[in-house]
Each structure stands twice: as C-alpha cells, then as structure tokens.
C-alpha cells in the first residue's frame, strides 16, 4: 500500500533541522571563527552539526567571507554535487555588497546572483554567537517549510546560468578541468589527448 509522505512532513522537517551536516570548505577570512564555534566553548555539535569532507553527504554550505571568481567556480561545482534539499548560509558583509573590497577587481559584489542564499549574517567578521543566531533562524525556516533556495535554483536556472556565463565566459567547466594537463606531462604536446 502506498504511503502518503506528506502526512509525515512535520516529523521529517524536525529530523532535518536537528542533523545538518556542513561541507568542509573554508572559503575566506571567516574560517578562523569556525574552530572556536565547533569546539568546546560555543559547542555546535549539540545541535547535531558536524563538518564532513564529502559533498554528497552534506546539507549545509557555509560561505564564510569574501568570494573570488576562482573560488566561485569551485563553489558552484560543489553546490551542484549536493543532493536536495540543501541550504546556504552567507557570513559577513562581503557576500552582501562587496564589503571592504567594494572597489576591488577580484571580489564578487552580490553573491545572490550566482547561487541562492537563504540566510545572511552581518558583521566583519561575525562573532560565534551571531552565527548561532543565524542558525537558529535557519532552523525556523526549515520547520515552516520556507527554506527553498534549492527550488529557486531549479526553477530559475536560466537566470543563474546567464549570470555565471557572463562572468566566466562560455565553456568554463571544461577549461578549468583541463587547464593543468600540459604542465604535468613530460613533453608539452598540445592537441595530443583529444
């Protein structure tokens, strides 16, 4: 007999919000406040959250600080590797509007145009208590069913893809993957492996 999973939504949401695993990717300045957050003073493991090396087994992505275009390519590849449902938390003032590098040529000014952000935390850099406040808000959003960044990404994929291609150029995934091969071979033969 078929089970109607929609009846069990409140229970599933309760279980999801109490066991989020974090992808281990330290993307910027704010990574210095991650170890104090997860060790014994501001203990985050009591909520069931721990860092995990594999993106296939994680739900939460912490973007701690500023983002450069070279890092943004790897963030997009990692974000698309995660299974649904997935959430993104942005720390600091640099992903919101550029922050202290507002006139720099190598810092992304508005991160929401490239991947969907659910909760943003202000500060430079935010204290561990502020990060826990943001995580509490994220848990409320999951419980009421409003944390829908991954649905927005699927429905508006053309909008996100257009912004990404304008910044990086067409065909950026293949170029990034094959960039170092001529330098690793013993003799440089350019069109040899195609």
């Amino acid at each position: 007999m078929m089970v109607d999973w929609r009846l069990y939504e409140p229970l599933i949401n309760f279980a999801r919000k109490r066991s989020m695993w974090i992808v281990a990717f330290c993307t910027g300045c704010g990574g210095i406040e991650m170890p104090p957050l997860m060790t014994s003073r501001y203990d985050l493991e009591r909520f069931g959250m721990m860092p995990n090396p594999a993106p296939r087994m994680a739900d939460l992505f912490l973007i701690t600080g500023y983002v450069t275009p070279k890092t943004l390519k790897r963030i997009i590849i990692t974000y698309e590797m995660q299974p649904d449902p997935k959430y993104v938390l942005a720390h600091g003032s640099c992903p919101l509007n550029g922050g202290i590098y507002w006139d720099g040529y190598n810092a992304i000014k508005h991160l929401d145009k490239y991947i969907p952000v659910d909760v943003a935390i202000a500060g430079c850099m935010p204290r561990p208590e502020a990060v826990m406040d943001g995580i509490k808000k994220m848990m409320e959003l999951i419980e009421t069913g409003k944390a829908d960044g991954w649905k927005r990404y699927k429905e508006n994929y053309e909008y996100y893809k257009k912004n990404q291609d304008e910044l990086f150029g067409e065909g950026w995934r293949e170029k990034t993957a094959r960039r170092w091969i001529p330098w690793l071979m013993n003799k440089k033969k350019e069109g040899d492996r195609q």
Partner: protein, 175 residues
C-alpha cells in the same frame, strides 16, 4: 651609534664593483644602485660575500620618469644587514627586459613570476613565466595589471556592472 660594520661592508663590495654606488642609510640598512646589464655579476659578488637569501623583488612604476625600478631585497645572516639593490629599466612592454638570476638564487623564480604577472617585466631565461600564477585567464586577456595607468574602477564597473554599495531589494535577509 657607530656604523663601522656597515661602512666596511660597503667599501669591500665597492672595491670589486666600480660601476656601482653605495651608501649607508642607517644602522643595518645599506643601499646600492647599479646599471641593469650588470645585475648578474653584482648578485654573484654579493653571494660570495655572505648574503645568503633574497627576500623579495619589488617592482615600482614611476609614471612621470617613464621607468620601472626593480628593488632586490637581500638579507645576510652572518652580518645581520639588509641591502637594497636598485636598478631602472624603460617602461614600454617590449623594452622592459632583464636577465634572470634564478641560477644564483633559486627562490628568485617565484619572485620573477610575480613581477611578470603584475608589472609585465620580462626576465630572459626563465621558462616558468608562461605558467599560470595568480590571475585567471579571462583577467589576463583583458589586461589587468598593477601599473599606474590601468583604470581599475572602470574595469570593475564593466565586469560586475555595479559599483555602488547599496541595494534595495532585500526581504529574506535577517540580523
């Protein structure tokens, strides 16, 4: 404070290198100026006189004189003295050429890659200059560099299409 040790080092080096000029700046800082085609002989002479490491190669862009100045920062552990070695080369991209020193001090290969990427100075004999270092390929093709005539704010506006700091459409952001 007596500057005898620094004076002795400067005189000993100037005896063997008559094309250079040397002064003592203050305690533990000395300075030399040399023409650009004698860099290799001078650095070999410094290495024989116990200057063991090279700390950095700094490139400075003097727009009004039309020259780029290269400052080699050398540090000696036996004498405990820091030496600036300064040369000047013309500023145009096809005329800014200097011989490489990476067989005398192997660490200079990394510093020369840095100066080439941001100031477009070519070091002849270094084949690692073509390897990608810090900037991405799309930035290098657009001509990003740290020279004084590069218009950074115009490039930012063209690339990100937004230079002002404030945006009004925020309803899901908290705290």
């Amino acid at each position: 404070m007596n500057l005898e040790k620094e004076q002795m080092i400067v005189e000993k080096i100037l005896q063997k290198a008559p094309y250079a000029e040397g002064t003592v700046r203050r305690q533990r800082r000395i300075e030399f100026r040399i023409p650009p085609d004698r860099i290799r002989d001078f650095l070999m002479l410094l290495k024989e006189n116990n200057f063991e490491t090279m700390m950095q190669i700094t490139a400075v862009d003097w727009l009004k004189d039309g020259e780029i100045e290269l400052v080699y920062q050398m540090w000696s552990y036996t004498h405990a003295v820091h030496a600036f070695v300064k040369t000047r080369i013309p500023r145009d991209v096809d005329k800014a050429r200097v011989p490489t020193v990476r067989d005398i001090y192997p660490v200079a290969e990394t510093y020369e890659r840095d100066a080439h990427e941001f100031y477009k100075v070519t070091f002849e004999g270094n084949d690692k200059l073509e390897m990608p270092w810090i900037l991405e390929d799309e930035d290098k093709e657009a001509g990003v560099c740290h020279r004084k005539d590069f218009d950074m704010l115009g490039y930012v506006k063209k690339k990100y299409k937004l230079l002002d700091r404030f945006e009004e459409d925020k309803e899901d952001y908290v705290i």
